[in-house]
Amino acid sequence: MNRTADVGALSIGGLEISLVQGGRPVPVVTGVNLSVNKKEVLGLVGESGSGKSLTSLAATRLLDPRVVRTTAGSVKLFGKELLTLPEAEMRRVRGKEIGIIFQDPMTSLDPAFTIGYQLSCGLRWHTDLTRAAARNRVLELLGLVGIGDPRRRVDQYPHQLSGGTRQRVMIAMAIACEPKVLIADEPTTALDATTQAQILELIASLATTMEMATVITTHDLGVVADVCDRVAVMYAGQIVECATTDELFYRPKHPYTERLLQSLPGVRAGRLQGIPGQPPRSGRFPQGCRFAPRCPYARPGCSADDPELTRLQTDHAARCLREAELELTGVGA
């Protein structure tokens, strides 16, 4: 079924994630197939509740099984299945082979320890560096992520740093052991516009120089325009469109992508266009096409049949019944 699944550095196949409600799993992410290659940056875009963060974090198995579980599918790291890996081995994967950057740098760093300690902690866990060698590596890392005066910063506590600097520390922590896969979960949502640009460029350039396979999740398509090679758009727990960045921006094939692009300031002259209505609550998905209730192009048939994610070209797939008949507007056209 999955011809290319074993090619990518990280490949996700048939992934289903469920919330546990009253002891009963309710699927909130269904049938997600994704793969990222070495040196490639994949953007995973969707509104909150679309399941993009769950999908990206499923690979790390950091989700609390009392609340949310991966109920089907596979996550492979260079062909090695992660979902069935014993916890002890999984620990060697986390931080060492997969680096993770979280959304909120304000709460994601431990307030009780210096950033130097927190950085060297993971390093010394995965390598046999001595204390002094780890400290040197930490200083090196802080310089690499663009933190000025690392020798002063290394002994500071998170509350003494600005939001942007903290996110740089998070990045340093994620790349400390030179992982092969980098997962950044909304890395810039909590930051100012100016800092956001810096952080994204940093992540993207690190991805290239360190030859990592990178997944960035975000709700803002504008943010990923220049840093991603490919973009997958998620809606209501499904991938609705997946294409190279240029394809997706200039020739969107799913109404949701089109609407998402129209929501950005500067894409169209005049008033901003939102998407009418609300996304469905997790797990309570409508029949047929899940976007149909909000779709301006919906026909009665859309609510009846479940559209498949159909490959349109080698590098473009969309999940829309009317894809062939619709002329959708991209940006800049």
């Binding site: 950091l62 009392r66 931080g95 431990d110 866990w125």
Partner: protein
């Protein structure tokens, strides 16, 4: 040292880092400790006026009390003349401000006044009871911390687990048990029925240490039991909150094992509230010790205070209250110092 080697940037980095760390150690220590010393000075500076205020309140309240200590001392049958004479002798016929001033100047000279019975200095009485109470409370505190904190950390990390469920039920029951009743039941079980431990009886700490320790087991357990439960609950609640924080997830994402996560990250972050509670528990334990000492026939400052209260011997009671308050304030200072190290964020405020 970096200048000599010159083997590329990495070595230079090593040298630089080491030099930076070793530079003027004395200065750095002073610089680092300065906020802590300021905090200690401030706390001590506040404690003294607070103790004065406490003693003043006791004098003021006793002055509005309708109970007459002189009559209480002499008994109902005493003649008005002898009562008046004793009142004069004890200085009770003077205004309370005057009495307070006398007492305060006594304190300035290193005393806490004399007992109304037999003119024994209050400090002498207290120092007789202090060793017993200190060994009781210290042992109980150590027991409390050693059992309550690790159990709480573990249960908080694994809420809903086996340890958590069992410990929660036990803690609920433990908190509901009166200490002196626990002491009575333990005496009934361990000394009357099973005869493994000595029952009630005066304790001489100067004697055989093994015997003294055996004497202490029941009262220490009785004092510690509810405090262990309280500390366990506090620790568990704190650990449960910490376990849900984003930074714990960050540490997990770095591959750290659950055990070392608990030992380092969770422990340091979750201990602020339990340590503060432990400081307050010292006070509670001294209070509870008063009852347990009486049950067990121990001669501690608690039983001294109870005897004094029953005989309206105000100077002794006041002395015990002040000594207790001073000890608790000192304990709170220690917990503040601990907090200083546990929570760097709170240092600047």
């Amino acid at each position: 040292m970096s200048g000599i080697s010159g083997r590329g940037p990495v070595v230079a980095l090593v040298g630089g880092a080491t030099a930076g760390r070793g530079a003027k150690p004395a200065n750095r220590f002073v610089q680092k400790a300065a906020p802590l010393l300021r905090m200690v000075a401030r706390r001590v500076g506040i404690a003294v006026p607070l103790l004065v205020l406490v003693s003043f309140s006791v004098f003021a309240i006793s002055s509005i009390s309708t109970a007459d200590p002189a009559r209480a001392i002499l008994g109902e049958g005493a003649t008005p003349q002898s009562v008046a004479q004793l009142r004069h002798q004890l200085g009770l016929d003077q205004s309370f401000l005057h009495r307070y001033w006398d007492w305060l100047s006594g304190v300035a000279h290193g005393g806490l006044g004399n007992s109304w019975y037999g003119n024994i200095p209050v400090l002498t009485k207290i120092s007789q009871g202090l060793p017993t109470t200190i060994s009781l409370v210290l042992a109980a505190m150590i027991l409390t911390a050693v059992v309550g904190i690790p159990l709480g950390l573990y249960a908080g990390m694994r809420r809903g687990g086996k340890v958590d469920t069992i410990a929660n039920s036990l803690a609920a029951i433990g908190l509901a048990m009166p200490e002196f009743w626990v002491a009575l039941v333990l005496i009934l079980l361990l000394s009357v029925k099973l005869r493994v431990l000595p029952g009630t009886g005066a304790l001489t700490l100067s004697g055989d240490p093994w015997q003294a320790a055996r004497h202490l087991v029941i009262p220490v357990v009785a004092i510690a039991l509810p405090q262990i439960c309280a500390l366990y609950r506090q620790t568990r609640a704190s650990a449960a909150i910490v376990a849900q924080q984003d930074y714990v997830r960050t540490a997990r994402a770095g591959g750290i094992s659950e055990w070392s996560l608990l030992r380092t990250r969770v422990a340091k972050n979750a201990l602020v509230a339990p340590v503060t509670l432990l400081g307050l528990q010292l006070g509670r334990m001294i209070g509870i010790a008063a009852v347990v000492e009486s049950v067990y026939g121990l001669h501690g400052i608690g039983s001294i205070a109870v005897q004094a209260a029953l005989t309206s011997d105000l100077p002794v009671v006041l002395g015990v209250v002040l000594v207790t308050a001073a000890v608790v304030m000192a304990a709170n200072l220690l917990t503040d110092i601990a907090t200083y190290y546990l929570a760097p964020k709170a240092r600047n405020s």
